[in-house]
């Protein structure tokens, strides 16, 4: 048999039919839903009088609109309250498992899938959320879908889709100290551009990804969509299996062994065809920050903000617009920009290892007096583990507000918002205009350790200098 990529194999295995328009009808192994993009889909099902075909293959949680401070219901915001009630009603009426607030397992949908072991290699995963690419870390083909497709998946467990091309991105060599998974993906997006991935699935490979933990791989895959790639994946390996073993929805006993054999076979075959290959040397990557209004507008911490004059012709307009919104001047350093808010959380960097890593450095430091710093675990499970390990206390002692699990200020659909043109150092994934709740608000994306450094100094900083990061830091 000819060598095939994981994408190719998963696609084939999940192909149900070819539709009359030439698209593929693809079977969706696991479907995740949340309160924002599902209510209309259930409404459409009701209008069409259709049942949910495989209720046991859909899982729900509530993340975008939940308050992270006051968790008393009804929520102060009546619209948010209506949305959570609607989700509960829909799940109950259709026998769908929901990881609700009282379950102790609630969290950002892209945290919950992996934590529960629902996210598995060689499967297809869809969710009405573009960061579904996160689940690709397990060697799944996982992608965001619109609400009409949520309807399609609920009604048929399939959807109509065009096959993508596959671009392999090799990152080999050794990352420098204080350089994290977040820096790797910000660098990739900067190199290939925010539309570089249109039409592609990204396969992340090479020594750096091989060495990464599952949580680091999730950080990378999470932001595939910011590079225009609807899905991104890492081939499953021992790290993947180790993470999954014993999780609630992972296969048990003999089934486990059979599953591992099946999963292993999905990994890309050596010598398989890629539509494109990109090679990156890990050593060239430095701690990265964004300076503009899309995730591709990034620089290394010690670089200067691009100027309109210095930019290519086709970029000038975008650079000018970004500088105007950010209130930055081209040519000045980004280091030293005074921040107002430090946001630590989101489905990119709200995992246990993120908190453990930051806590290591934050101990003994204090958040600058003018900075509002909030730490939001991505899931209740992460929050609980942090409490058990005393990590929440490290954050509280430093002056961070310690919150309950949710999306929070990543998109500010809950009460956590920037005010006016506040500048935010954020561990999230999008710096779009208005993303953090204020139309004039400004966001700088960076790794969690860099967010902590900015919180402590009150300005955009090189965490390697602030914390003396350098010795005991993993890839």
């Amino acid at each position: 048999m000819t060598a095939q990529s994981l994408y190719e194999k998963v696609w084939k295995a999940h192909t149900v039919s070819t539709l009359s328009n030439g698209k593929t009808q693809l079977f969706i192994g696991s479907h995740l839903i949340h309160e924002v993009t599902s209510p209309q889909a259930f409404g459409m099902l009701r209008d069409m009088n259709l049942p949910v075909k495989y209720p046991e293959r859909t899982f729900a949680t509530v993340d975008h609109i939940v308050p992270t401070d006051k968790r008393v219901e009804p929520f102060d915001d009546p619209l948010a309250d209506a949305m959570i009630k609607e989700l509960r009603k829909n799940c109950e009426a259709n026998n769908i498992t929901m990881f609700d607030i009282d379950s102790g397992k609630q969290g950002i949908v892209h945290m919950v899938g992996p934590e529960q072991g629902i996210t598995q290699p060689g499967t297809t995963i869809a969710c009405g959320d573009s960061h579904t690419s996160t689940h690709g870390a397990f060697g799944a083909i996982a992608f965001g879908i619109g609400t009409s497709q949520v309807r399609d998946v609920l009604a048929t467990q399939t959807m109509s889709m065009d096959k993508m091309k596959v671009r392999r991105i090799n990152v080999d060599g050794q990352l420098g100290p204080g350089v994290y998974a977040k820096d790797v993906i910000l660098h990739i997006i900067k190199l290939l551009g925010v539309k570089g991935g249109l039409g592609y699935a990204y396969e992340y490979a090479g020594e750096v990804f091989d060495r990464m933990s599952m949580e680091e791989r999730m950080t990378v895959c999470n932001m595939s969509i910011e590079g225009g790639a609807r899905c991104g994946y890492v081939n499953p390996d021992e790290t993947t299996f180790e993470y999954l073993q014993g999780r609630p929805y992972a296969p048990k006993g003999e089934d486990w062994d059979a599953a591992v054999t099946r999963w292993r076979a999905y990994a890309s075959d050596p010598g398989c065809h890629y539509d494109d290959v990109v090679n990156i040397d890990a050593a060239e990557i430095e701690p990265s920050v964004t300076w503009g209004i899309n995730p591709g507008q990034g620089i290394f911490i010690n670089e200067r903000i691009p100027s309109v004059e210095g930019s290519a012709d086709h970029d000038k307009e975008a650079v000018a617009q970004a500088l105007a919104h950010m209130k930055f001047t081209g040519g000045e350093p980004i280091k030293g920009k005074r921040i107002d808010v430090a946001f630590f959380g989101s489905c990119t960097n709200g995992r246990l290892s993120d908190f453990v890593e930051v806590a290591k450095f934050l101990k003994g430091h204090k958040v600058a007096a003018h900075v509002k710093a909030i730490a939001v675990p991505g899931s209740q499970i992460v929050g609980k583990l942090c409490t058990e390990m005393g990590i929440d206390q490290v954050f509280k002692d430093a002056g961070f507000e310690w919150r309950e699990a949710g999306c929070s200020m990543c998109l500010a659909m809950n009460p956590d918002k920037l005010i006016g043109d506040q500048l935010s150092a954020s561990s999230s994934n999008r710096n779009f205009i208005g993303r953090q709740g204020s139309p004039t608000g400004r966001t700088i994306l960076m790794s969690p350790v860099m967010v902590a450094a900015a919180a402590v100094t009150g300005e955009v900083s090189d965490a390697r200098e602030v914390f003396g990061v350098g010795q005991a830091v993993s890839a």
Partner: protein, 205 residues
């Protein structure tokens, strides 16, 4: 439920210049707090059309001369960012029936086609030409011919690209795939069985 076939679309246009116009900009997150799509039109480009006090800013969509536009023009990677179908829904509910841009983000593209709102690709030069024409005469009639992948603007005709699967879906009235997906119930069960990780479906009642 037979769907309309979509081939020729005519109307006037409005040009919203810019690359990488993301879905947060098309519809800010606060407008997503809803359980139906009914009232989304008011949120369309809200934060670039109005300041924090609700006062109108300079924006093509605020100009009376473009009020009747049903064709939206923009530049590359239109609709990038979140998967929110609220974005094309807001555009559709504000009266638009076609978007012409240099390129589209994938999830947005799929969402728009499923609503029966074609997204066609044109070169930057042609889009700027149409923009300039509209600037001079906002009432210029624009006609999109999906089958022949052509757009006529006043007396000029340009070539555009329509993704093959979208083209076929629009021309055959199959832009919403649900019926066809439902028809393949047996094939679905078969795939589920061969996959080895999907348990039996609960029989549809």
């Amino acid at each position: 439920m037979a769907l309309a076939t979509i081939n020729h679309i005519s109307g006037t246009g409005v040009y919203i210049p810019g690359d990488d116009i993301d879905t947060d900009r098309i519809i800010p997150a606060r407008y997503l707090k809803c359980v139906t799509f009914d009232d989304l039109a008011e949120g369309l480009f809200a934060d670039v059309r109005f300041d924090t006090e609700g006062v109108q800013k300079d924006h093509p969509l605020n100009e009376a001369r473009f009020e009747k536009a049903t064709i939206m023009l923009s530049n590359s990677n239109f609709g990038c960012g979140s998967s929110r179908e609220h974005a094309p829904q807001a555009i559709y509910r504000a009266g638009f029936r076609t978007i012409i841009a240099e390129s589209f983000a994938e999830i947005f593209f799929g969402n728009a086609i499923t609503l029966g709102m074609p997204c066609v690709e044109a070169s930057r030069a042609d889009i700027e030409m149409i923009g300039a024409t509209l600037e001079q005469n906002p009432a210029t009639e624009i006609t999109i011919d999906i089958e022949n992948e052509r757009v006529t603007v006043g007396d000029k005709t340009i070539n555009v690209k329509v993704k093959p699967s979208a083209k076929q879906a629009l021309l055959e009235g199959k832009w919403d795939p649900i019926q066809e997906l439902l028809e393949h119930s047996d094939a679905i069960s078969q795939t589920a069985q061969t996959l080895g990780y999907v348990s039996q479906a609960i029989p549809a009642s």
